[in-house]
């Protein structure tokens, strides 16, 4: 936990539904360090969004509840912070950017107003100053003619422009940490490249830490310093970007990398991961990837897989590496 700004320890967020307990995040641990970009990678239903929402205690309750674990932000466990303290942290110290920019903005206020509102709320600036700061932030995220466009409404902006507005709003309080949940998924590839560029530049300039949630390994390769691979609400593997791409250890990580069509060469056939994504209702007390695993062993159906350190920061949760 040396220079970690945010430490998630054994996070368990479950949803209590009529059909059973959905263990959306089931024992997730990782550190986010100062100035680094950490990617949470996984497919739909792997618990990556729930993990992010749990950090800021934004999970709808009921049905969801964080039933265990710790979330350390500096010396403070956010799971035990008062609502007032959480409000002071949210947006201010830890900001969030969501996938769908259109639905995160209020259609009846101008985009400038919405950024300025946040500035007034958190930084206690006057109306004029807040507006000027909003315009300057819009300029920094690459919105042309920011002063005029600040007076426009979200429907007058494209998806990529709205995502810039959200990034500007997230930056408005100069946060230490930005949590971005699939911020580029809804965008076209040329716009996606622009947004990734902006995020990379801003995190470097401002020494911000970025927790970036995505399913897109291409984006991960582009932006990540370190990577956490999740599957079925649990950790599969974590390490530096080079660890995961050059020396993946978990059979799920192998599958994820191998199943992608390659842009730079021709392949005869793709290698899909067989089977389907598991239900998280009452998951087994053993490896949840086992039914799809090419290297599954009898022990995988009996025991929880151990967490094993491969080298340095590279850890994997799998029976294959047990001595």
């Amino acid at each position: 936990m040396d220079n970690a700004i945010l430490s998630v320890r054994d996070l368990r967020t479950h949803f209590f539904t009529k059909s059973g307990v959905v263990k959306a995040a089931d024992g997730i641990s990782f550190d986010l360090r100062e100035g680094e970009t950490l990617c949470l990678v996984g497919e739909s239903g792997c618990g990556k969004t729930v993990t992010a929402l749990s950090i800021l205690r934004l999970v709808d309750s009921p049905p969801g509840r964080t039933v265990g674990g710790e979330i350390w932000y500096h010396q403070e466990d956010l799971l035990h912070s008062s609502p007032a303290r959480l409000r002071a942290i949210r947006g201010n110290r830890i900001a969030m950017i969501f996938q769908d920019p259109q639905s995160s903005l209020n259609p009846i206020f101008t985009v400038g107003d919405q950024i300025a509102e946040q500035i007034k709320l958190h930084r206690h600036l006057g109306k004029r100053e807040a507006w000027d700061l909003a315009v300057s932030l819009m300029d920094q995220v690459g919105i042309p003619q920011a002063r005029q466009r600040a007076r426009e409404y979200p429907h007058q902006f494209s998806g990529g422009m709205n995502q810039r507005v959200l990034i500007a709003a997230a930056l408005s309080c100069d946060p230490e940490v930005i949590i971005a949940d699939e911020p580029t998924t809804a965008l076209d590839v040329t716009i996606k490249a622009q947004i990734l560029d902006i995020l990379k530049r801003l995190t470097e300039e401002r020494r911000m830490s970025l927790l970036f949630i995505t399913h897109d390994l291409g984006v991960v390769a582009e932006i990540a310093d370190r990577i956490v691979v999740m599957y079925g609400g649990r950790l599969a593997e974590s390490g530096t970007s080079a660890d995961i791409f050059d020396n993946p250890k978990h059979p799920y990580t192998w599958g994820l990398i191998k199943c992608l069509p390659d842009m730079s060469r021709d392949q005869d056939r793709l290698t899909p991961i067989p089977g389907t994504i598991p239900s998280l209702i009452d998951p087994p007390q053993s490896c949840i990837f086992h039914p799809r695993c090419p290297r599954g062993m009898p022990v995988c159906t009996r025991e929880m897989p151990p967490q094993i350190t491969i080298s340095g920061e590279h850890t994997v949760v799998c029976q294959l590496y047990k001595l």
Binding site: E43, S44, P144, S158, G160, M161, D188, V189, T190, I191, K192, A193, Q194, L196, D197, H215, D216, L217, G218, V219, V220, A221, E222, A224, S241, A242, F245, D246, G255, L256, I257, C259, L260, P261, D262, M263, S264, D266, Q267, R269, L270, T271, P272, I273, P274, T276, I277
Partner: protein
């Protein structure tokens, strides 16, 4: 439908246009057009897959739907086995659709939630009077098996299926009538990556097995590269480049294609490549820029581009580009 002329092209699209009127005022008078598809020509040969790629709003889905006449074209011709389907009556259209089917992006909304998936597939056979009840049952079971489902899935409802399984049902339904051409509109983009590969492999197997042609519409360039023989790149309702897969990915000529290819994030942290960042957004198809409609974002635009509209030229055998750089 019998072919009138021997033709080695399964599908020929000539100067196809699809405009949607923009209306305003009390009497909804027409004040302009959204030019979703604006003069597009291409062909598809038997057993060939043509990949159609472009960003959202470029008109690729509208083009796919117009080719099957799910949308009425504003102008242009669509020749299927030499016959102009834009002039077909209902009956002619029905028999054409027996040979040309569609797979949709969202398997959720293209299946009737109150029908078992078996009945959904059977419906296609029923509409086209293909066999009696017993023959149809056998056919549906055979199709389910072929797309990787089990015969007990016949009596299940769509909500009991995962997204990938639903897409398998969508494929089975398209295959039911033994088509020659399938227009697939973003068939894998709603699926998770580990599942996407399953469906792509299935579609390629079926292509080889049944000799299908695909018009494969997608925004994901790596998927397009994997499945296509030839590729068409669309921008604002027009095809800007059309080439074999090898030429398109090995030697792209149109500045838009070059930028598009350079924007794709590659899942390899060591491969740092030169990226051409396009500035700005795709302009509205209601008011496309004059001249070359890409000139507002083009890094290589020059004086003639805003004035004159370029047209597709064959610069090398089978490599068509619409750009003033190559005059």
């Amino acid at each position: 439908m019998k072919k009138k002329t021997q033709n080695d092209k399964l599908l020929e699209v000539e100067n196809l246009r699809k405009y949607y009127p923009i209306t305003a005022g009390l009497f909804h008078s027409r004040v302009g057009d959204i030019k979703a598809v604006d003069g597009v020509s291409f062909h598809i040969e038997p057993r060939e897959t043509l990949g159609l790629v472009g960003e959202s709003g470029c008109g690729k889905s509208t083009l796919g739907r117009t080719v099957l006449r799910l949308e009425e074209p504003t102008a242009g011709r669509v020749l299927f086995r030499g016959q102009d389907i834009t002039r077909l009556d209902r009956k002619g259209l029905k028999s054409m659709r027996r040979e040309a089917q569609m797979i949709f992006q969202d398997p959720q909304s293209s299946l009737d939630p109150r029908m078992t998936v078996g009945d959904s597939i059977d419906e296609a056979l029923l509409i086209h009077d293909m066999g009696d009840a017993r023959e149809r049952l056998r056919r549906v079971e055979e199709l389910l098996d072929r797309v990787g489902l089990e015969s007990y899935h016949y009596r299940r409802y769509p909500h009991e299926f995962s997204g990938a399984q639903k897409q398998r049902v969508g494929i089975a339904r398209a295959l039911a009538v033994n088509p020659n051409l399938i227009v697939a509109d973003e068939p894998v983009s709603a699926l998770d990556v580990s599942i996407q590969a399953q469906i792509l492999n299935l579609m390629m197997d079926l292509r080889d097995e049944y000799g299908l042609s695909y018009l494969f519409i997608a925004h994901d360039l790596s998927v397009i590269r994997h499945i296509s023989h030839r590729v068409a790149v669309m921008y604002l309702g027009k095809i800007v480049e059309l080439a074999t897969k090898e030429d398109m990915f090995g030697d792209p000529l149109h500045p838009y294609t070059v930028a598009l290819l350079s924007s794709v994030p590659i899942p390899d942290p060591h491969r740092k490549k030169e990226r051409i960042l396009l500035t700005g957004d795709v302009p509205s198809p209601a008011a496309p820029p004059p001249g070359c409609n890409f000139h507002t974002r083009c890094p290589r635009a020059f004086d003639i581009c805003p004035r004159e509209e370029p047209f597709l030229k064959e610069l090398a055998p089978n490599h068509w580009v619409s750009c003033h750089l190559y005059r």
